[in-house]
């Protein structure tokens, strides 16, 4: 099996999920220059709610796709409501407060949401019922499952839909106008509060679908899953240029690839037995096909953070961000 191609396939799947979550961060940031810290928790709620629906319906005779669809249809409005609620409770009252204030409420909200999820769904790791049949295709030495194709397809479709919404509709131009300058947008007759609420709601809807897909892809859900996922998606948004919609998509896919390829190769690359200088010193460990791996694939989660730090240090505006991140 071709490791490289396989990791590219895995990376694209992961990356398209990151991209969808990253869109939620970047849209909010583009409009009110605020990191919606609790966005990862919305993704988690999406996963949990759809898991409940799917588990409840798994015993029935409905076709699997209909069950998954039902899960999505319940999760999306629920998460949208949650997104709206977050905006009203944690962000709107603080829109004119110093910058640290909404960030701190957001952290508080994400802790509260995690604990609520734990009370509702227990502190255990929950297994997603395996209702979708495993279909695997072999393409050029790499295997790609129907699920992976579906995830990538749905993500691309959602990104396309969002692009249409933002660049072709009235709401979209109102959003862009608000992002450009809220005061002037208000003078032009844009209901800025409604636009901001709509942004949160749309982001939360995307997050709900992403949550479901992450849950099905890994086969499990946990009340803490939103934190790491959110951090990574945020890194993706920064990588692409925060506030920039195409940037979030590119950043997500790129981060997925970096993670998958990094996890696939870091073990080999940091195996000191591959290097002549160390191999002689470590002879007893290396002889006979032994290995001395400094960093294995268990460091996978580090990549996103390293990418984040590198981007912020060397190119804070990200890959596609035209607006230079405000350096204080």
């Amino acid at each position: 099996m071709d490791t490289f191609l396989q990791q590219v396939v895995n990376g694209l799947t992961l990356g398209s999920l990151y991209a969808v979550v990253a869109l939620g961060y970047t849209m909010v940031y583009g409009i009110i220059q605020l990191i919606n810290f609790a966005h990862g928790e919305v993704v988690m709620f999406g996963a949990m709610i759809s898991l409940s629906v799917i588990s409840a319906a798994a015993g029935s005779n409905l076709p699997p796709l209909a069950i998954v669809l039902a899960g999505i249809l319940v999760a999306i409005p629920a998460c949208m409501g949650l997104g709206y609620f977050l905006e009203r409770i944690a962000y709107r009252p603080l829109r004119r407060a110093p910058r640290l204030a909404p960030l701190i409420t957001a952290i508080g909200m994400s802790i509260v949401l995690q604990q609520l999820a734990m009370m509702i769904w227990s502190r255990n790791i929950l297994a997603f019922p395996q209702i979708l049949p495993m279909v695997v295709y072999e393409v050029a030495g790499a295997s790609i499952s129907a699920l992976q194709i579906a995830i990538i397809g749905v993500c691309l479709a959602m990104m396309g839909g969002l692009a249409v919404l933002i660049y072709r509709t009235r709401l979209g131009s109102a959003m862009r106008a608000t992002a450009e300058n809220p005061e002037i947008a208000r003078l032009m007759g844009v209901d800025v509060d409604r636009v901001i609420a709509a942004t949160f709601i749309i982001g939360a809807g995307l997050a709900a679908v992403a949550g479901l897909m992450v849950g099905i892809y890994y086969g499990l859900a946990h009340y803490t899953m939103g934190a790491t996922l959110g951090m990574k998606a945020f890194s993706a948004a920064v990588l692409g240029g925060i506030g920039n919609i195409p940037g979030a998509m590119v950043g997500g896919l790129l981060l997925g690839l970096v993670e998958a390829l990094g996890a696939g190769y870091i073990g080999d690359l940091t195996d000191l037995c591959h290097y002549k200088i160390f191999a002689s010193a470590l002879e007893e460990r290396c002889s006979g096909g032994g290995y001395f791996v400094l960093f294995g694939s268990n460091y996978q989660d580090v990549f996103a953070f390293v990418v984040l730090i590198l981007v912020l240090v060397f190119r804070p505006s990200g890959l596609l961000g035209e607006r230079v991140a405000d350096r204080a």
Binding site: L34, P98, I107, I111, Y299, I309, P316, R327, A328
Partner: protein, 354 residues
């Protein structure tokens, strides 16, 4: 004037006596309470360290627990059977503090140019990286012993008196946790004095200037990057010392003690008390340390009596309390329960603008 002074002396003496007698009163209620008090002091310690970064300099650091972890692991590695090293604590504590400070500079140097919210995310990422490394540095060379953590860490011992066991002194039984209490109290006093002195020093005023308006601060000749770096290093140093103390008191540490929620808890303490106000932060940390513990002892019986079973675990209530504290404080009393005067002004001016 003299009368005020005598009153102050009497007040301080009374407080000091109360603090000295406290562990005896607490141990009557159970040694657990002495331990809880010790942890509370440790959290005051940490909150004061974070207060330098968040309160004084206005830099939101969400990875503060990383420095705590570094200090704790340095202590554990140098005084446990894991490497067979048993250095005395007054040698390790400075080492731990300096290593933590170095980590602070390592993190700060590349990131302090960033604006506030980016900095928050980067520090959060840094905290995660440190935790992942602590979890995984057990292979190929076993440094941190992975998720199992390090056990049998030496207790502090000074001049042959080990803080691990119980002694009888002047007819009074002094248990290990009680000795730790006095040691922590002494350290805390030192930390508070250092903090008070820092606040009114040249550096302290530079921090405040940067917090209020960084561009103006630079215009009047403050080397902002260096001064911010100093705040990071200083905060990290306190984190490192607290970590070392934690190691020696607990005798066992694992990466699980150094997770993001811990950072958020410390932040909640600083925010609740009032960012930038030393006494406010002390009160905030004590409140958020003790109230959840008291809840633990009341919530369980109340729930059992009302519903016949445990519906909400005390641990959950504790975390909910921290989360709600952050949200409610920011909405209704953003400058904290006991705000520093400068902060209060800052928050109310922002309100006037709107």
């Amino acid at each position: 004037m003299i009368r005020r002074r005598t009153r102050l002396v009497i007040g301080v003496t009374l407080v000091a006596l109360a603090l000295l007698a406290l562990p005896f009163a607490l141990s009557a209620a159970g040694t657990a309470w002495v331990r809880i008090t010790n942890l509370a002091i440790l959290f005051v310690f940490l909150s004061l360290g974070l207060n330098i970064v968040v309160g004084f300099a206005g830099l939101l650091d969400l990875g503060y627990v990383a420095f705590y972890g570094v200090g704790a692991y340095v202590y554990a590695l140098l005084a446990s059977p894991h490497f067979g090293l048993h250095l005395p604590f007054w040698v390790i504590l400075p080492i731990g503090a300096s290593v933590a400070a170095i980590f602070g500079v390592l993190l700060g140097a590349p990131t302090l140019k960033l604006r506030g919210d980016y900095l928050a995310i980067v520090t959060l990422g840094f905290g995660e990286i440190v935790r992942i490394f602590l979890n995984n540095l057990s292979r190929p060379i076993n440094i941190t012993n992975g998720p199992q953590g390090i056990a049998q860490i030496d207790p502090v011992s000074i001049g042959g008196v080990s803080f691990g066991d119980t002694d009888v002194l002047l007819g009074l039984t002094v248990s290990g946790p009680m000795k730790h209490y006095y040691l922590l109290l002494l350290l805390l006093l030192l930390v508070i004095v250092v903090n008070l002195r820092l606040q009114n020093s040249r550096i302290g005023r530079a921090w405040e200037a940067i917090r209020e308006d960084e561009i103006a601060a630079r215009a009047i000749g403050i080397d902002t990057t260096r001064v911010k770096l100093l705040a990071f290093a200083m905060g990290a140093t306190f984190g490192g010392i607290a970590g070392g103390m934690f190691s020696s008191i607990q005798g066992f540490i694992s990466p699980e003690s150094f997770v993001l929620t811990e950072s958020v808890m410390i932040l909640a303490m600083v925010v609740l008390g009032g960012m930038g106000n030393i006494w406010g932060v002390v009160v905030g940390a004590l409140l958020l340390s003790f109230v959840p513990e008291m809840l633990r002892y009341t919530v369980v019986p109340v729930q059992l009596a009302l519903f016949g079973k445990l519906l909400v675990e005390p641990e959950v209530i504790r975390m909910l309390l921290f989360g709600m504290a952050l949200v409610l404080m920011m909405r209704f009393r953003p400058a904290g329960l006991w705000p520093s005067s400068a902060r209060q002004r800052e928050f109310s001016i922002e309100k006037m603008k709107s």
